[in-house]
């Protein structure tokens, strides 16, 4: 994976070249070069994922198919892509949905957040904190811990299956409502599973709290962008909030994301008020911490996570806090649904018209925007998807630029590990980054040749 030129004794030039970083979703590379005098001559976060052209594939598609297509952008956030897509379609076609639909969608958001966060914490980050290369050896050395985490994650999979019908690429949701809803028995079962998972989550909180010393201490002030709502810890619905900016309505998302191309790394980058911004669990926590459920607030305190935290490595910790929040809030939603009684509802009838709309959902990795324009036949003629990981690329790069000079005197292996941990903390979901460019080292020349063709 990493090729290193080893030389001891005198300070030598160092090179970290992680080709296809592991334990992230999708393909990303880290390239760092440090000269013998400690000068950093290269420091890049690169994304060589195959471009997939989803926004183009949506053109001409019927409004009823769109959320099924965008679901395939990402296996892990398929529910979030569907929800953002449904919001955009419903905004464009003026479709209102029932309170029951909204409650079930909020439940779906929680299910996906749990599913993704637990995968990230247990399978992708924990091995770093325990000093091993994957969760597989942990199954032998820390069997009890792994089984508890696996049980918690199985609960989250079951959660998504009970609410959405499938854990990945669900089939129940449609513009205007649900084709099929969970039965009261399903929700009662889910309630029991959630209650049973509380000890496992508390165990995870204690475990991560005991490993707090392994989380690198690194602070860099940046902008945090997330949905905000006056009523709750915004996940399914809200306005675009920032610690440095006024609020924006979701339809105004382009004035916040302001995507731009950079010649040196070119997944489209974003910037708002500062030179880069961060989205994800830490951004949500920093903007909405006071709206967490009591148990989640207690977990945050135990884990030493405070509002205004500027350590990107703490994103994983914020995810764990959100897991506790999702379990508690889901229990409240289920009780509400059971108390008001589940009703079989037909999806809201649609009157086709030309229109333009946007949707935003807080998916596990941060704020996700979908925006569509429809013609009067209900077919898309323009689509835009702004994915959380793309919004984080610039912030990852800026973090690396701030972090590498501090690490310059450490051995290569340590620099590589800490930078890999930094990227993993963002939980990047690179398959999602629908617009990206191949820029592996040595291919810059090829790029020029390609342009001339």
């Amino acid at each position: 994976m990493a090729k290193k030129a080893q030389s001891k004794a005198e300070p030598a030039a160092k090179r970290v070249d992680v080709h296809y970083l592991t334990r992230v979703e999708g393909h990303g590379n880290i390239v760092v070069e440090i000269e013998a005098d400690g000068r950093v001559s290269a420091c890049r976060w690169e994304v060589p994922e195959a471009p997939r052209f989803f926004e183009a594939m949506l053109i001409g598609r019927d409004y009823r198919d769109v959320h099924h297509i965008v679901s395939r952008i990402c296996g892990i956030c398929s529910i979030g892509h569907q929800l953002a897509s449904l919001q955009a379609t419903e905004d464009a076609l003026d479709i209102r949905v029932s309170e029951q639909t909204l409650l079930l969608r909020r439940l779906a958001t929680h299910g996906e957040n749990l599913q993704s966060h637990l995968l990230h914490i247990a399978y992708l980050v924990l091995p770093d904190l325990m000093g091993v290369d994957s969760v597989i050896p942990l199954a032998e050395t820390h069997k009890e811990a792994v089984l508890k985490l696996v049980a918690a994650r199985r609960m989250s999979n079951e959660f998504c299956r009970l609410v959405c019908g499938r854990t990945t690429h669900p089939q129940r949701m449609t513009p205007g409502g649900w084709m099929k809803i969970p039965t009261p028995e399903d929700l009662t079962l889910l309630r029991r599973l959630l209650v049973e998972s509380v000890p496992n989550l508390n165990f995870a909180v204690d475990l991560v709290a005991s490993l707090a010393g392994k989380i690198p201490a690194f602070e860099r002030k940046t902008e945090y962008v997330a949905l905000v709502s006056p009523t709750d810890y915004a996940l399914y619905w809200g306005e675009i909030g920032s610690n440095l900016d006024e609020r924006h309505p979701v339809r105004d998302y382009k004035s916040v994301t302001r995507e731009y191309c950079v010649p040196q790394s070119t997944a489209k980058w974003t910037k708002n008020m500062a030179e880069s911004y961060m989205v994800g669990a830490l951004a949500r926590f920093n903007l909405n911490a006071e709206k967490l459920t009591p148990g989640a607030a207690a977990a945050a305190e135990k884990l030493g996570l405070k509002k205004g935290c500027t350590n990107p490595f703490m994103n994983t910790v914020a995810q764990l806090v959100e897991c506790v929040h999702s379990v508690e809030d889901s229990l409240a939603i289920i009780d509400m649904l059971l108390a008001r009684g589940l009703r079989e509802e037909e999806p809201t009838p649609v009157r086709l018209k030309a229109g333009k709309g946007a949707g935003a959902v807080e998916v596990p990795r941060g704020i996700l925007f979908h925006a569509y324009e429809y013609d009067d036949k209900g077919r898309i003629f323009a689509a835009d998807c702004v994915i959380p990981t793309n919004q984080n690329h610039a912030n990852i790069q800026k973090d690396m630029e701030a972090l590498v000079p501090v690490l310059a005197d450490r051995p290569e292996a340590e620099i590589e590990l800490i930078l890999s941990m930094l990227v993993r903390a963002y939980d990047p979901c690179i398959s999602c980054s629908t617009h990206t460019l191949d820029l592996r080292p040595g291919q810059e020349k090829k790029l020029v040749r390609f342009v001339r063709k």
């Binding site: 592991t22 334990r23 994957s134 597989i136 990945t168 669900p170 191949d438």
Partner: protein, 247 residues
């Protein structure tokens, strides 16, 4: 076999939802791992070895460089298993094959379109020989476990050769055609338990054509639902873009 066979996972253009289904096997994954040695599973583990016997490959081939990488994997692996709709039949990635390349590249990348190498999306079998397939979008975790077991036992894995309609009847669903809707269960390979129909949607064809699918007849049946040709074409292109179904 004395030593444990070494297995590796690779991915091309796709959502990695299939590897996620594998991870979702949870405890059963740990059982499987007792019988193999994972040398490359980038989504889960740091170690990446190049000495594997069985390669599981996810995603479609959309760039010339990807085809080369796949050929390299093929030359190393004794057995190559395609994982999921993108790898088996091209899947949703093939939607772009019906658009002008200029249009889809500019739509997404604007003025920078020419920086991004791409080619029509293809399934793995268009580039190399594929020894076994686990179809579906995403793959069915139980079917994946069965295929792995059969491969490890040295058997040729089998797939159902009957259409989704068979399982849909068993599931007790109301036929979508009875409801005036369209459905591809009539020409799609079974094995999913008609999960999409059961959950309120219709069959999208993600598992590919069933052997002997009567496409002419299917077109007549779809036309009879009264949906316009564009809607029929949309559905046939959703997953089956690389098959004869879209003609």
């Amino acid at each position: 076999m004395t030593a444990k066979p070494k297995i590796a996972f690779f991915d091309f253009a796709g959502c990695e939802g299939d590897q996620l289904q594998v991870a979702n096997l949870e405890e059963r994954l740990l059982d499987i791992l007792g019988h193999v040695e994972v040398v490359n599973f980038r989504e889960v583990a740091t170690r990446s070895g190049q000495d594997y016997d069985i390669a599981f490959v996810e995603g479609s081939i959309t760039r010339p460089a990807d085809a080369e990488r796949l050929k390299q994997i093929r030359s190393q692996a004794k057995i190559l298993v395609a994982l999921g709709a993108c790898a088996c039949i091209g899947g949703v990635n093939c939607l772009k094959n019906f658009m002008s390349e200029n249009v889809y590249r500019e739509e997404v990348y604007g003025a920078s379109a020419r920086w991004y190498p791409t080619a029509p999306a293809r399934p793995l079998k268009a580039v190399v020989q594929v020894d076994a397939e686990v179809p579906g979008c995403p793959v069915d975790a139980a079917e994946f476990a069965r295929v792995v077991k059969e491969v490890l036992l040295g058997k040729t894995p089998w797939l159902p050769d009957w259409p989704v309609c068979v399982e849909c009847k068993l599931a007790g669903n109301i036929c979508r055609f009875e409801m005036g809707r369209m459905c591809l269960g009539i020409i799609t390979r079974a094995g999913c338990g008609a999960c999409c129909v059961t959950e309120g949607a219709h069959c999208w064809g993600c598992r590919g054509l069933v052997p002997g699918a009567n496409l002419d007849s299917a077109r007549i049946v779809l036309d009879r639902t009264g949906h316009d040709r564009k809607a029929v074409q949309d559905l046939l292109r959703f997953y089956l873009g690389d098959t004869a179904a879209t003609l």
